[in-house]
Symmetry: D2
Subunit: 499 residues, 4 copies
């Protein structure tokens, strides 16, 4: 199809710049090579913003620390845009926050307001041009945008804008929003932004910074989290509350689905720009994405995970000697499982601290090198034991297979795999990495087949109902669980178009 051709041309047209950038990345950000997470669902972004008019010009420093705390939400690129009395300065780069910024670059970002962004992306579109925030100098004023989520109708909107002469410089949905604002007949830039929101379908947590205010917007369904905090007289907004702790800020409340908060010299103004009443918070935030110490929409993530482990124990009936987590993703659920089942918890597998990267290619001799680099089973603990191996999810199954093989090699007599979430069968269109959906092992295999493929003596998944029960201890929001049941909270039209 022509449209997709054009987009691929767009990607290709920058590929040597991209090559450059990714070289830089591979040298700088060794910690970013998360071999094992290649077999996990992956988040696309984290955002942070601060409005700090009285506390001097350290908004960018605070944003830098906040982004470090949100680093788990994206390791590909990072950026901060600061606003110094109406003058906007921006710095972006490929790699981890700590590599992108130096003392000098932060010093160059003095200002009383700032927004920042960390980004994950599949390798195809990994390039500096796609780093956020984006900054535009429109006739309506300067506008910086940082965005976590995915617009279902981005391609349609982009096509219309290009037909009318707009020129795009990235493949970001965020740039679509920027062009809608620039094209609006509304002169006031915040009004133009509100008008634009009504044209967007999908999930987004969006921070916008204009001359004299910071704006935080969450999509009507609340797909992605967004939290509001306070640090002295300053307001902060972040994808997760863990970003508040690091700067000593206090969590106030979550930004609500469909809410727009404007922060300026008059303080905080909240309004609802949508009358949508159903919510669709991504359930995977609790399962894997969010940091365990975050509190999302009223529920601590670690406790939710531990509760999923307990629930899983209630649903299972396996005799075993030890409950062993896949570190770090399975630890919380394993502790819950052990507590509920009474089967002893053991550190049967260690996660190696310094194991980042290697260029050594797997050979016949050491086929499972990446797993060996990251995880070490402890023979003295495992040998001769019946193990319940706990993990949070299985996406492709390849890593699980290697881990199980290594555990058996270490002498485990039985390996029963217990997953603290249901089978992932459907791709995600609202902010997760969907590039490997054909590789979702549960999309075309039964649980028994998966268990056989990965070499488990038995395989167990938490029920969807059990999962919800575990999460909903403290609140009663609706969730998007489409990756488990295919029930997408948005029209099919956009889902197809996305392919």
């Amino acid at each position: 199809m022509q449209l997709s051709n054009k987009f691929s041309a767009s990607n290709l047209s920058h590929n040597t710049i991209q090559t450059n950038s990714s070289t830089a990345v591979s040298k700088q950000s060794q910690s970013a090579d998360l071999d094992l997470t290649a077999d996990k669902m992956t988040e696309e972004c984290g955002v942070f913003g601060i409005y700090n008019p009285e506390a001097g010009t350290e908004a960018a420093e605070m944003t830098y620390l906040g982004l470090i705390a949100l680093q788990h939400r994206g390791q590909e690129s990072a950026g901060i845009c600061a606003n110094n009395q109406g003058q906007f300065n921006i710095h972006k780069g490929m790699g981890l926050v700590e590599n992108v910024f130096s003392q000098e670059t932060i010093a160059g970002l003095a200002g009383e307001m700032a927004i920042g962004h960390v980004r994950y992306s599949t390798s195809g579109s990994s390039k500096l041009a796609n780093a956020q925030p984006i900054l535009i100098n429109s006739i309506k004023g300067d506008l910086a945008l940082a965005h976590n989520g995915n617009l279902a109708n981005a391609a349609e909107l982009r096509h219309n804008l290009e037909n009318n002469g707009s020129i795009f410089h990235s493949t970001l949905d965020t740039e679509v929003i920027a062009h809608l604002v620039a094209r609006s007949f509304e002169d006031n830039i915040i009004e133009a932004l509100v008008q634009s929101l009504h044209q967007l379908k999908g999930g987004f947590s969006l921070l916008a910074m204009v001359k004299d205010s910071l704006v935080a917007i969450r999509d009507p369904r609340g797909f992605r989290p967004l939290a509001l905090g306070k640090l002295g007289s300053a307001y902060v907004v972040a994808s997760e509350s863990c970003a508040f702790d690091i700067i000593g800020a206090e969590f106030i409340r979550n930004v609500e689905p469909g809410e727009m908060i404007i922060i300026d010299q008059d303080g905080l103004t909240s309004s609802k720009y949508s009358s949508e009443s159903k919510t669709s918070l991504c359930v995977f935030e609790y399962i894997y994405f969010a940091r365990p110490d975050s509190n999302i929409d009223g529920q601590n993530v670690l406790l939710a995970r531990k509760e999923m482990g307990k629930q899983l124990a209630r649903e299972m009936d396996v005799e075993a000697d030890l409950v062993v987590p896949v570190p770090d993703s399975g630890i919380a659920a394993a502790l819950g499982f052990a507590e509920e089942s009474g089967i002893p918890y053991a550190q049967g597998i260690l996660r190696n601290r310094y194991m980042g990267r290697t260029f050594i290619q797997p050979t016949q001799q050491i086929r499972d090198l990446k797993v060996r680099l990251k995880l070490s089973p402890i023979k003295e603990i495992i040998a001769g034991k019946r193990i319940i191996l706990i993990d949070d999810s299985i996406v492709r199954g390849t890593t699980s297979k290697q881990i199980i093989a290594r555990i058996k090699e270490a002498g485990a007599s039985e390996v029963h795999v217990a997953i603290s979430s249901p089978p992932v069968k459907y791709p995600c269109y609202f902010g997760l990495d969907t590039s490997r959906r054909k590789e979702l092992i549960a999309s075309s295999n039964t649980v028994a087949e998966i268990g056989k493929t990965i070499g488990a003596d038995s395989l167990h998944y938490l029920s969807q109902r059990g999962m919800l029960a575990a999460i909903k201890i403290n609140h009663d929001l609706g969730f998007c669980q489409a990756c488990f049941d295919g029930d997408y909270p948005i029209s099919d039209r956009y889902l197809n178009e996305e392919e």
Copy 2:
């Protein structure tokens, strides 16, 4: 004024990226630090293009070599965009051509067509976002543009475009052209480009590359040079003919003012898109910018310079022992002067080969360090002699002053300065660096005053008439000599707006 505020915001908004880039530059491109040329008029760009359908995929290699030959026209950034069967790949970077490109990046630019660009710019807007070529993915197809020159009405056009919702990512005039093309109601991209040309005022030599053809355009007045060559079955276009020699191509003819040449599988198609009859070739190309081995609009540059030296000798009446050039800019004129006057030519000042850069700050002890790094007077030659010191021009006069002081220190009994062009009194709006116009020493001082300021025993300039006579040996084009006489070949409206 609001407009200029917005533009300055635009510059500022990128300044940390710019800081980054310029750091990289200062490390990489030591040769680019031409201390002494800080006191010369400076060019803004060089362009090169090749259409090479039969000779395989080496268009980018040829462009790379062509840009090396054009390096004197711009050392700030370099870029190449290649077209491989309709797929566009681009690579750009800050610094010298030889630093921006590596074997890998050139290998990633395989293709049968390519355009390239080298750029000079005042430090203020020196940043990667302003590197050329620019590549856009419009609904009309991919379009790459490389441009040498300055549009007098760029600010006006940009204002109108932004008012209608266009978003700019650089401060380049080239991006204005791109937006005009994207906005055109004309679907055919070349037709849209032609429509856009009619809206442009000022000087430009423009290369455009689309899916299946290469387009070379020179502005109606011919402010900037543009030459056409042939390499086997391939056509090449370049700012100067010296870029042909390096790849073994043959000079055919100059692209004429107001001409558009389309090169595609049917060969070369020429058309005139303007009926302008007066030409305004920049006279400084002959005086300083162009490479001495280039042939511009029918005249070899070195011979023109030598002839200016002869003419200067005819106009002057000074007794002296030696004619000594400021190397390298004064050599050609000095040889001509010596030949005509009969006064012996001598290498009384040496240009030091490895002297690039230093971070050492001038102190009381060595105040004229930059001149010392670059130039060494030879006492054994100079001592006790009456010297005629030849240079091509004086812009600010600060370097001249230090050179003269060093020559006197070396024992010269008299130093008579002879300049092979008239006094530069007016700023340029058509492609030269105009940022230092207030610093033009001749704008507010008489020749006698300048001579006194720089410490010369006498100071002589070539007459404007003599200069024209020297250049016009082989052709009869009209020149832009506005920097000498203030007679700008364009409406005052744009000149004022530029300020």
Copy 3:
């Protein structure tokens, strides 16, 4: 004293090279900035060697992987020397193994034998010249050495050698050994090496590589571990057995104290070069240094740590609601403690995965930034609870203080600190970082005073006897416990000289 002046001059004389290198380090190896471990005892080295005559030329690749597995033993510099049919090639650099080596550098190290080294060091002597292995071209043949440990009489030997005209290029003990070999009247290089061993006092695990053989030597007292493994027909030697797992090699046995193993084409030859019968294995290998999955002298490290936790529980009498480890150092002991005491184990503090480095200076607002970057208490778990906080050791106490403060801030009603080893009161002379001995909080404070200083409601240390009982489950070696009781296994003469 004059001698130490000379040594400090030696350090100073290279300090710009050092400055350079450390700059490179700070850019490359963000993971190496282990803020919290600044408050831990630190190891100085890890070694790895392989003799692989049949398996082609991949010795360096295996060594590279082995060094990655030993990275916890040293993050300052890394190096590999390979032997390709008698030709020695070496590559060393500052930083983590994964940053020091690239595919190209490893490809340049083809060979059938290799030895490698990772190094930790206090900042003062951190420089490339001190990276290992060292390679010398003596008249007796090429010799490469990699060494883990500290010679007590290094200064004395060095003084004598310099007096006789030897020139040193590093401050390494290893270079002292090299000079002893070069000076020996014995022509055979291995014989010369054996002669040299008899002059050494202190702890060392030493790998030597000559033209046709690999030599592994452990000091007579066995201060530092050294393990022997097999990979097909190849032999491997490493500081810890965890380096075998990563390449799929099999652990055979430990190199014994006072043993020299020569590996060449005739296989493995073992000999005892010392008749020392007492052993002094460093007890801190079990407490903190070694990787939990290593097996040292017959005892798995993780199980030893868990047993220390159990023993600690037996020795203590505190009522509490939760056992919470300081991650990662306290986890194993905390699990043992919880199991023995019946008090529930909880992940009350999280270790943040991506938190490496920051240049932000602690301010009034966020004084405990480094702890905040690394550790996050979970309020929902901790609030209102009486906590037993488990860690492996306290060196200076500053980090403990901040951790306890954060836990109380998170709402813990009581914090009882339990340390799974005795108080560290005396400096180490045999391979650990001794630079901060005056900062050892237990050297001048009672347990009660320490508890008060760090803000604990009570503080408990494991008894020395309990510690030994926990470790000695599987073997009966003698240990060096001098850091706890000051009973150094070597003459006072050297201990004083060291100061």
Copy 4:
């Protein structure tokens, strides 16, 4: 032979470090890629030293500038060692002076004394370990050495030292001197240095820096130049006097062959350590190596070159239209030739200013790319003319051949080549690059054959007698002219051993 095997092993043993360094070089120092000089004799070193006790701590800054002025004597590596009240600091790196040093590294070299070095070397031994100065911490005190020249008996001395247990870390002759000093029974370090001098055969200009003094030594025959200057109360020493001009220092006199000058708080003390009466100054310093503005042993270099051109004109009898130099090496002689012969001088070939490097491989299409990158014949000047092409020397002849071909391509009717020195027939053992001696075209071809090979219509060399006459205008030293006549001023024993 075994000895040479060992040395080659020594080179090989560091080759990955070397690979690294040279990569860095190729990125940084584009100006250092002097394609055309590949066909010139090449110098090995330049040295600079300053003793500046009253003028504060800027000795390293002055040395940095001095090394920039001496850059033509070596572009491979650079280094400075400074002495700050007896504390020695050193910084060395691969590449050009301006790339090796930054403001920070120079700031780290504060001190009242400093010595510096620039080095050229054939690619084989190009590595950081061979950069100078070298700094050793001997029992006699710290000693820094910087050395220009070649010891004929270096291999013999090194062999003896290694036999007695010395360990070498480089392949430098300078390190041999350092070991001789360290081994001396003499405790006073300067006395030890004098003793060592008596063991050296060959050419050297040596700077030594100890705790409280700077020592300048020239070998008994004076193979390499060494000049003494004064800057206020400070003394400076440098390979060439051009290094004085850049810092505003005044030339005093040359260091004499066999002289040792000690500069300390008591001023300057001169002594003769040798009674050798014959001198052997390298004649190529005048022909090509030295900078034209230097004054060596009483003779200005540029004037000597111009005089060689005049002498050449007197010896030749060719009719021609133009005298054209190969820039820059032939310019001075060509001006002399034109003046003497009356044939007009013309800039018929231009040297391109920005042409540094390229990775493009010569193809059928552009075989002479390197010449094209550097030199451009000007058709308008050359076409139809009989040219006398002047250069200073021919080593291999390959570049000459390409230049002549390009001139003929540009339309010259005849090309007569005139070389302002005799044919180079014999290798050099005293400080010049001897690696290509088999490639000396004149060693196995007659002048007629060479002329035919390079495509000249006729070829002329200056006579040896004419050359001497041209140089000896101002002094009467003896010269080493062995490269012309094979009459080496040193025993054959060393010449053979060198092979």
